[in-house]
């Protein structure tokens, strides 16, 4: 029991120090712009096809599944608004973040874990190059910026998928569909949902980096770091989502 408690406290302290170090390093020069843009390309641009396909399917499936129920109540005309609200408020941010946790967080965990095991991180350290700044700060900033952008793109493509879904059984023009979508959306629907994706992005990057940076020696630990990064990041996404929904409810909806 003592050992378990000790490990919990040690790990908590270690994670806290790792995150605190990010805020110390992020504003301190030198700034690694080149590496930051390289990571944005790798994290954002290369994840876009996967996010786009998933987003389209989400919108399409949601529309097809929901249509019969709404049709029963003669409320088919609410379909565009309902699909848009569901996607923007909840489905798109969470599903996109989970995809990013699987692709990006595990990738970062494996990459940094492999660098740790092969002493590449030590090589930076002995060359008087700050590996945390070069490897962690750039990746965390890139995920914090790119995940919200991917979510916005997934929202748009998901709504387009909804349009395709509606047109399987009906004949709705794009103008009419998007008019109904925009009419059903408020600023309050978009802002909290987008803000929470910034936190999703931050923790996806941070967890991947932490798991990789603290990987033990040995090749086995690289796989463990990647796996653990996905599991922890996915759990973190659900916890952040729960908190975000509660806070949104308290500050915006309840009023």
């Amino acid at each position: 029991m003592d050992t378990v408690l000790k490990k919990v406290f040690t790990d908590t302290g270690s994670v806290t120090l790792f995150i605190t170090r990010f805020f110390k390093e992020v504003f301190r020069p030198p700034f690694e712009f080149k590496e930051f843009f390289r990571q944005c390309y790798s994290i954002g641009y290369k994840s876009f096809p996967l996010v786009a396909i998933t987003g389209f399917i989400m919108g399409l499936v949601l529309t097809i599944q929901t249509r019969p129920t709404l049709a029963e109540f003669g409320a088919e005309s609410w379909l565009p608004g309902m699909v848009a609200l569901s996607l923007i408020r909840e489905i798109s941010p969470v599903i996109t973040a989970l995809i990013c946790a699987g692709k990006i967080s595990s990738g970062i965990g494996a990459e940094l874990g492999s660098m740790k095991v092969t002493e590449q991180i030590d090589a930076m350290e002995v060359s008087a190059i700050n590996p945390y700044k070069y490897l962690v700060v750039t990746r965390v900033l890139a995920t914090t910026l790119m995940v919200p952008m991917l979510v916005v793109l997934a929202d748009a493509i998901g709504i387009l998928g909804g349009f395709a879904g509606i047109n399987i059984h009906s004949d709705v023009t794009m103008y009419r569909y998007f008019s109904q979508v925009l009419a059903s959306l408020d600023f309050i629907d978009i802002l909290p949902a987008t803000v929470k994706t910034i936190f999703f992005g931050f923790f996806i990057g941070m967890i991947g980096c932490y798991k990789g940076f603290t990987a033990a020696n040995g090749t086995e630990s690289v796989g463990k770091a990647a796996n653990s990064a996905v599991v922890t990041a996915s759990l973190a996404i659900f916890i952040i989502d729960m908190l975000a929904v509660q806070l949104t409810d308290i500050f915006f909806i309840s009023k």
Partner: protein
């Protein structure tokens, strides 16, 4: 190579072979009472006292787990010492913060056992990466010239645009050494430079260590199990046993040691 050869008494309290020659040069590394332990209170280093003089090639021998790698990692702050003093260029690095330590680190090169080349970068980028960070005023031409010079000194200019994955073990070691040389270090630490290489390539790497030392007038600490490398490169050898320095002397002196355990390294 150090030519002056007058021995002085060193350590251990055992009747190990003839003590070391007193080299008439200023010490650049001076370790006093160095202790390091990891988990479960297992001491890896138990009171190491060691001085390395300018221009000297010191070879550290010992069984696996005897603390050799930990010793040189302490010298660059990769591992923090529990107790003791580590003076490098007359500065006790155990008392420095990370920023201060970096001013010492740029004067020390470290060749890792597996070369530790950055996988995602070409050979050119591997070499320019530390150079551009520490010499920001260099023009592109100067950077290019430095990379060419470093690669020429290890005889691998043709590998400049290759990725590390395209290089053999020996080539990786050479490129690792070129990356180390690009910042013109005064001290180079070699962590098992010939491990995993065939006999011929091992000899080539050992000869390269010597030629680098002659060309750049560096001081070297070489951790190795390879006795051919130790014989060729070492001005002085020290042997570690369970974190304690048990023998010190020239290759020839230690080879004739009265202690059977020490002699067993030379069989």
């Amino acid at each position: 190579m150090i030519q002056t050869e007058t021995y002085t008494k060193i350590q251990t309290g055992t009747d190990y072979p003839e003590p070391l020659k007193n080299i008439k040069a200023e010490p650049v590394i001076n370790i006093k009472g160095l202790y390091k332990s990891f988990e479960k209170n297992t001491d890896i280093l138990k009171g190491i006292d060691l001085t390395v003089k300018k221009g000297e090639n010191l070879v550290v021998l010992g069984k696996s787990g005897s603390g050799k790698s930990v010793l040189i990692k302490c010298l660059v702050g990769l591992v923090t010492a529990d107790r003791g003093e580590i003076e490098v260029f007359d500065t006790d690095i155990t008392k420095l913060n990370n920023q201060q330590l970096n001013t010492i680190r740029v004067r020390i090169g470290f060749l890792f056992q597996n070369s530790a080349l950055y996988d995602s970068m070409t050979v050119r980028e591997n070499l320019s990466f530390p150079l551009k960070r520490h010499s920001k005023k260099l023009s592109d031409k100067e950077v290019k010239d430095s990379i060419t010079a470093a690669l020429e000194s290890v005889g691998l200019i043709e590998a400049i645009d290759k990725m590390p994955s395209e290089l053999s073990g020996g080539m990786r070691k050479r490129i690792g050494l070129a990356r180390t040389l690009i910042l013109h270090p005064e001290i180079i630490l070699y962590d098992e430079p010939t491990t995993g290489l065939d006999t011929i390539t091992s000899r080539e790497i050992s000869e390269l260590i010597l030629s680098v030392q002659k060309k750049y007038k560096t001081t070297s600490i070489i951790i190795t199990h390879d006795m051919a490398c130790a014989k060729l490169t070492g001005d002085r050898l020290v042997i570690l046993k369970d974190g304690v320095m048990v023998a010190e002397g020239s290759y020839d002196a230690l080879e004739k040691s009265e202690d059977a355990w020490v002699r067993s390294f030379f069989i």
